[in-house]
């Protein structure tokens, strides 16, 4: 019965070693590919030329959708961003909050997501953000811009908290190359 034992031992070795040898031979020109699949390499390098595009998402930062609006009756404003979901799953945007500052670093008010929303795979979604200006902000605009012909002032976001797709992201401030500044209309504030 040694033959059975020997046959089973050879079978075990063949089963354990065979696939490893095959995959090593397949990747002999790129051994790193054994542990880092091409999908991840493409994702890291954002390589659009590769044939394997299963993870080559075309992620673009949100772009402004229309001009920001200011409503003097309740000192509130709204602005919107257009975001295309590049993934194959829906993305839920559950919360967004940020503090608005002038370029000179004056705190102007807070902003938050108007309504939680869901963006389907490959779909465009308009993310509506609203907030209100503080009394100090209104005084700041009146003191700084009254009499001038400037009708919009670039403001920026700080202390941004985003809750999307189950991910909580906090940014101390908005990267300038991501969205840049928001042209807040101040025509009614001067």
């Amino acid at each position: 019965m040694d033959k059975v034992k020997i046959a089973l031992t050879i079978l075990t070795i063949a089963i354990m070693v065979g696939p490893l040898v095959c995959v090593t031979l397949l990747y002999r020109d790129n051994l790193l590919g054994l542990v880092i699949p091409p999908e991840l390499t493409n994702l890291a390098s954002n390589d659009d030329t590769s044939n394997d595009t299963s993870l080559a998402y075309d992620i673009n930062p949100p772009t402004p959708a229309g001009d920001p609006q200011y409503f003097p009756e309740n000192k509130s404003y709204t602005f919107a961003y257009n975001f295309t979901n590049p993934f194959t799953d829906s993305i839920s945007v559950d919360a967004f909050s940020a503090a608005i500052y002038s370029k000179e670093g004056v705190f102007l008010g807070n902003a938050s997501l108007t309504n939680p929303m869901q963006i389907g795979p490959g779909e465009n979604g308009i993310v509506d953000i609203s907030g209100s200006l503080t009394e100090e902000a209104i005084s700041y605009f009146k003191n700084s811009y009254s009499g001038s012909n400037i009708n919009t002032v670039d403001v920026t976001l700080r202390n941004i908290d985003i809750d999307a797709a189950g991910l909580q992201v906090h940014l101390d401030q908005l990267p300038p190359d991501m969205i840049g500044s928001i042209p807040l209309p101040i025509g009614d504030l001067k």
Partner: protein, 183 residues
Amino acid sequence: MRINWFGLTAGILTLIVLLISFYVPWWQLIIGDNLFKINGSPIYTNFGLMGSSFTIPLLLALNISSILMFTVSGIIMLVYSCFPTKSYSLQLLSFSYRKPLYAVIIFVLSLLIIIAIVGLTGLKIPVVGSSPLTLPSQLTFGIGISISALASASFLLPFWLAIGTSVLCIVARLYHRRIPQLT
């Protein structure tokens, strides 16, 4: 004809575990709302990122080895169970009864080792249950950004079925001593 019923059941269960494992992982980790997913299994390990999945070639090779090992050990266990009194039956049983147990032990140890290694980077991944996961500051390039998400992990049905199969395989081995052997 004498049959080792424990072995027969264990052989069938081994093949059932193999089949189920193609569709359901042994262990699953979900980060965020299916933002990132790990489906761990000796049979088919894959990773998911926002609905797309990918695998690692080296893991795929190990998975193919496991698939072949489960298939062969399940079939050999069935053959043994139907002929437990043959002179070569002990060799067949000795080959097949350990494999599901080895698969469970190696899988759990690998999982714990990988999670411990990942933990060295500061990412505390749960083995079972949910816990908040925060990306270490060295991975966020120090640009004033922090990223966190809820990570949920659990062992699923095929894992428990594999443990049951392993126990049944051991019982089949113990029961083999009670079967009078032909010489």
